[in-house]
Subunit: 353 residues, 2 copies
Amino acid sequence: MTVEEARAAFPVLERIAYLNAGTFGPLARSTLEAIRFRHQRDLEQGRSGADYIEDMHGLRAEVRARLATLLRVDAQRVALVRSTSDGCQVVLAGLRLRPHDEIVTVEGEHFGLLGPLRVTGARVVVASPHREAILAAIGRHTRLLALSAVMWTTGDALQLRELKEETGLPMLVDGAQSVGAIDVDATPFDFHTVSGQKWLCGPDATGGLYVRDPEALDVALPSYFSQALFRPDGSFDPSDGAARFDSGWIPPASLAGLLAALDAAPEWRFERTRIMAARCREALGERFDVVTGDEHAGLVSWRANGDSSAVVTKLYERGVVIREIPGTGLLRASCGYWTNEDDLDRLVTGLSA
Amino acid sequence: MTVEEARAAFPVLERIAYLNAGTFGPLARSTLEAIRFRHQRDLEQGRSGADYIEDMHGLRAEVRARLATLLRVDAQRVALVRSTSDGCQVVLAGLRLRPHDEIVTVEGEHFGLLGPLRVTGARVVVASPHREAILAAIGRHTRLLALSAVMWTTGDALQLRELKEETGLPMLVDGAQSVGAIDVDATPFDFHTVSGQKWLCGPDATGGLYVRDPEALDVALPSYFSQALFRPDGSFDPSDGAARFDSGWIPPASLAGLLAALDAAPEWRFERTRIMAARCREALGERFDVVTGDEHAGLVSWRANGDSSAVVTKLYERGVVIREIPGTGLLRASCGYWTNEDDLDRLVTGLSA
């Protein structure tokens, strides 16, 4: 598959320099077709019956297996969730932390991780997003490191594997900005989230959660999928493996759409994402204060000249889609395997206009 | 709108006697069209930009207002959730119950309510689903009554308004089998869930939650929508009103689909649902042991002659969709405003074959 062939899958790229996969990836025509096919079935045959249920379970099993492959882990250790926030919630509620416990996280994390951290009641220790600062923040009450693999703000990729090896602490990795953008091996971590709708270009409200040891985490937010058997007082025998952490219903149409999206990605996706993000960083670096460092994935962030919100609007009107990071004065472009030189030219030209 | 006109909106009814709105309502052509319109927009223009965000917020506000009207409550007290299970989870986690607290529920409740009850750590007291038994189960440690307005198993409607008046206890009402099937006034209750995908015939993974006093419930499962402002340690100022309990992202296409579904329902929906369920009860009562009592909504349940699962399959092969209630030997038919005499004839004939 050539770059041009890969780009042709995404209608939005025909007119728009779409540089916002960090929020939502572009949708491929085949993804929408898979969704429509399921919807047509739902419309004509109803959302019931043995075939419907069997299809639904089949789609769930297939998505679970595909996400497991993507993370290089066993499918038995992957739960289907509706977002990375859902995944963080499942883990943090399940850990049953107490007020004297501490969780170490870093400045600039997303509320999808921070909100669930906060409501555990444990003490949240916020370090600067650098190795030494994180290590310094760890104390004898630290029960968890909770960090994004790639910061949604600066685009910096943290060296989490080394951090895990060095500390041996339980680690929740938010993969919102990594899975699909860079090659991920979740094996060393305790928990790892996946977003279906960002770098995997899937339908919204799809995602996954890797749990290395499903037996060791409480099922604190049970869904119907969590139980193999339940009693009238709600006590239940959990489902096998990480399926016990499956959060609520994901429409079969969305599961089918996610599978189609996974099929659409070329083998060279990670290499090309890396190259295009590096080119973007270079091109912007000639005129702007780029904050994204050498270790990055698909995100590139820089300081806005003037009002960041106004810049986003100006670009949008010129068919260039980026975003601002509220409260920071930062602008962010997302470069995927589908990004080309023309997209970057349009970005730089638009910024300079 | 005549019954025939109302039926014509649902393609599934052309061939199938679809009697399973208690699981998933039939989908109207206009609901799918609204979904497709949004998806096409997502495909061509991308899921980003000021217009996209504005549309999304507009759709959320409109769905919130419409669900509030349906429950006869103020929109400020309605949260958007992805299912009734989600709604139960939000309430039960937010109450911060302790091991010596007690929750009274009834036999035969759905795991979507029971699972979240159980994991609170409070003692779950299971009463028989009748007024006297429920009253007898209440003690000085009872912190909550958690009940379905209509039992998903027997189809019986409980007299919850009277129970609330008599006990004055906080009450969580699961509206999965009531909202859209019968006229509901949630005002007397503390918490009331709504399913979008059952009797409202909306897209899957849509729903609502009424919270009478949003300030009095903890935001225990925060989503991005829960906060008006957050700090690096995750502490946050909650959003106004019940929007602080909005659970995660609901795709704009699903919100648009739900609005279209709400538009499709005729004014006479509740009266007709009641009549058709009564006729179903009568028709089945001539030959079977119907367990649904006089006080019902759209569900009718009866004891299967022989293996309930085999009966469901036999009917499905004849184009009649009902369901069994696992572990009970019960069969269940859902009658909506769209149900006609022919559907009921096909059910009775199919059962007798």
